[in-house]
């Protein structure tokens, strides 16, 4: 504890003034020109003092992006995105945000209160524009990372921002960046490659079991700004890491674009467990506002006996377009995908996974629970494929959908491709509705309609919740209850 306190005090003394300066004085100079051009890409790269190879890498992505069409195969609808109307580098608000907690929408505060986020953090989340709060925020986040660093350095674990990694560990970044999600992968990944601002970098050296859960908390704060973060996690031979990612965003009337890329690399005998609780602002009941969440997440079991496990709880975003996938390249490697996707109001979810079996005796498991309420649409889209050489590939898939009310939709779109006769792929799918009988039974015992729905839904998703680390499971349970509010009656 003492050491932690020391670090905290140290960081406080160092960074508070520095950040205050950055926040107040550098506002104008940190703003990139609106819109997307080679100039924007160079601007971002220059701001981060990036080496020439990375600038070129970004420019290459940008030029390719210009030739790509926006994908239209998913079951989501939105007006065309005007990429020239966005800021691509974290720019401050042009209109004043709430000045104090009193100006913040009480509805939003109520939500955070329910989440158990302390008041000062609530101010932060609501985007209250006072330097003190902002400084505290930065202080808090830096201190956490720094505390981790001190502890983690003993084990040789690197956990830092992506920008830091570019400067301090260029050899690792150069070796692994884009090696799982190539620059040309897809429209949004290519866009991200051109303009990504920051993100997290993790490296676990050979044989090291990371002694604590690593966690990053993402927040989109500024209006009219796209968020493009980039996460790269490498587990070297025999290493293990569990990584948690949390996301929230303040309420804004306009849609905001979030196009992140996450790359995981697991070498021989390594294991990566990646958990997400995504609670981006979903828009209001009429579908106004909310985040467009177009994310590319992929893990590469690059060598034998590697294991990658994705667990996600998706409750937020106006549109979710996300397929955390595993490339099972090494023999005996294993991929897992556990997902809870909840949609309410007018949210649209098109999510699932890809399990690409390339190595021998590779196994994968997919458990997906989709819950649709309100007027939302919830699609599971998944690919399980076995290459010719992937002898004895095994997959088990279970996709369950739960409907709440009369106006929502659940869709399951599985693609199964086996090019070897030795593959065994199993697929189970069910669609059910919360029945009037169940609701009445619970209400007869004293539970309100909403309590009953939350209880039934929590039962429905239990298999997946059990995959989450404890703290996240509790948070996820609360989130489920909150995101289904107003779905009954």
């Amino acid at each position: 504890m003492a050491a932690v306190q020391e670090t905290v005090d140290h960081v406080k003394s160092l960074d508070v003034t520095e950040y205050k300066y950055g926040f107040v004085s550098n506002i104008e100079s940190e703003k990139s020109p609106k819109g997307l051009s080679e100039e924007t890409v160079r601007f971002i790269s220059a701001k981060k003092n990036e080496p020439a190879w990375l600038t070129e890498w970004r420019l290459d992505a940008y030029r390719r992006w210009l030739t790509m069409p926006s994908p239209d195969w998913s079951r989501v609808n939105h007006p065309p995105i005007d990429y020239q109307d966005l800021y691509y580098y974290s720019a401050p608000k042009s209109t004043p945000g709430p000045k104090s907690i009193d100006d913040v929408d009480p509805e939003l505060l109520r939500v955070y209160e329910k989440l158990g986020i302390p008041l000062r953090e609530q101010e932060l989340l609501a985007g209250v524009q006072t330097s003190k709060v902002a400084v505290d925020a930065v202080f808090d986040s830096v201190s956490v990372a720094t505390t981790f660093k001190t502890e983690l350095a003993k084990f040789g674990v690197i956990f830092c921002s992506f920008s830091e990694a570019v400067h301090n560990h260029p050899e690792l970044v150069k070796k692994y960046l884009g090696s799982v999600v190539p620059v040309t992968d897809n429209y949004f990944a290519t866009l991200n490659s051109a303009v990504f601002s920051d993100g997290s970098f993790v490296y676990i050296p050979p044989g090291v079991r990371c002694p604590m859960e690593l966690s990053t908390y993402f927040r989109i704060n500024e209006p009219n700004t796209g968020q493009f973060e980039r996460t790269l996690i490498v587990a070297d031979k025999g290493a293990y890491v569990s990584y948690l990612e949390g996301c929230t965003a303040p309420k804004r009337d306009e849609n905001q674009l979030h196009a992140a890329v996450v790359e995981l690399v697991a070498l021989e005998d390594a294991e990566i467990k990646y958990s997400t609780v995504q609670n981006w602002y979903p828009g209001d009941a009429d579908g106004k506002g909310g985040i467009y969440n177009f994310v590319t997440k992929r893990g590469d079991c690059r060598e034998d006996n590697a294991k990658i496990s994705w667990t996600q709880v998706e409750t937020g975003s106006a549109i979710t377009w996300k397929y955390p996938s595993c490339i099972l390249r090494g023999d005996n490697s294993r991929g897992e995908f556990y997902s809870i996707a909840i949609s309410n109001g007018k949210q649209q979810v098109d999510s699932g996974t890809k399990m690409v079996h390339l190595g021998k005796n590779t196994t994968s498991r997919i458990i997906s629970k989709g819950i649709a309420a309100g007027r939302s649409d919830n699609t599971y889209r998944g690919l399980v494929s076995a290459h010719r050489k992937a002898t004895n590939a095994r997959n088990f898939t279970n996709c369950d959908s739960l409907l709440i009310g009369e106006h929502c939709g659940a869709h399951t779109v599985p693609y199964i491709e086996a090019k070897t006769a030795t593959a065994v792929f199993e697929h189970e799918a069910t669609t059910s509705k919360i029945s009037e009988d169940q609701l009445f039974y619970c209400r007869q015992r004293g539970l309100s309609g909403e309590e009953a729905t939350a209880l039934i839904v929590n039962g429905f998703v239990r298999d997946v919740l059990q995959q989450l680390p404890m703290e996240f499971a509790v948070e996820a349970q609360k989130l489920i209850a909150i995101s289904l509010e107003g779905s009954v009656g």
Binding site: S435, Q438, Y441, Q444, R445, S448, L455, F460, R462
Partner: protein, 249 residues
């Protein structure tokens, strides 16, 4: 405690209850018997607050208050408990979790604090023991994969925990073998109290051998057509409903 006055109920435009009058007094066990389709289950659902039924006329008073205007969960908190004929499965929700959520929801509605986990566990264990419910069952999802007898015992266990003012037993004897019937009946008898009433709906005299009613009502075509003592049930067992149904027609 319970007064049903001139109750008229329809479902999808079809009349089910037709001016039903009924009283259950404190400490009383009232049995309702009647042929299929006479509206017995409808009566229990309407008292508990199921929304598919339309009450076109009449009142249901609990301790003098008309409960027809309030939500099912509010009625539950005021002490209405329905032991379902077909208990519903709640997949993935451990029985223990469900029981705790219900009990605390009712306590909250009445302005009481949540029960502590040790106190709750003590209550549940005692109730489970008296109903010969295997403690392992409490970890399983509610009613999922339970046998007919286990489901009915679980209903009575819930009633014991929730300590209602009025217990409605809707054909609790259906699907029970003789041993299970005895266990369930003993469970109900143990709950008989001066401040609690029971409305026991059944087709058969058999249950009433174990749960001795203070009063027996015969129901037909949505009304109570005869009220008597426990003797009435015995008579019915011998002669069937024919005489009464014919009278009512």
């Amino acid at each position: 405690m319970l007064e049903v006055k001139n109750l008229h109920v329809e479902i999808d435009g079809k009349k089910i209850l037709d001016g039903l009058n009924l009283t259950v007094r404190d400490g009383e066990v009232a049995a309702i018997m009647g042929p299929n389709g006479s509206g017995k289950s409808t009566l229990s659902y309407v008292i508990a607050g199921r929304s598919d039924y339309e009450v076109t006329e009449g009142e249901v008073l609990l301790d003098g208050e008309n409960i027809l205007e309030i939500e099912p969960e509010e009625r539950a908190a005021k002490g209405i408990f329905l032991a379902f004929q077909y208990p519903v499965e709640i997949p993935g929700v451990a029985t223990m979790t469900f029981l705790k959520a219900s009990l605390n929801a009712q306590r909250k509605a009445r302005g009481d604090a949540d029960l502590s986990t040790p106190d709750f566990m003590r209550l549940v264990r005692a109730a489970a023991a008296s109903l010969e419910v295997n403690p392992d069952m409490m970890k399983r999802p509610l009613n999922v994969g339970f046998s007919g007898g286990e489901k009915k015992r679980m209903e009575i266990l819930q009633m014991a925990l929730l300590e209602p003012r009025l217990g409605l037993l809707d054909e609790t004897d259906s699907g029970l073998d003789i041993d299970a019937l005895r266990i369930v009946a003993n469970g109900v008898n143990a709950l008989r109290a001066a401040n609690r009433g029971f409305l026991v709906i059944t087709h058969y005299q058999r249950l009433l051998d174990y749960i001795k009613p203070d009063v027996v009502h015969i129901m037909s075509k949505g009304r109570i057509i005869k009220t008597g003592t426990a003797e009435l049930a015995l008579e019915l067992e011998k002669n069937g409903y024919r005489d009464y149904v014919a009278d009512a027609a």
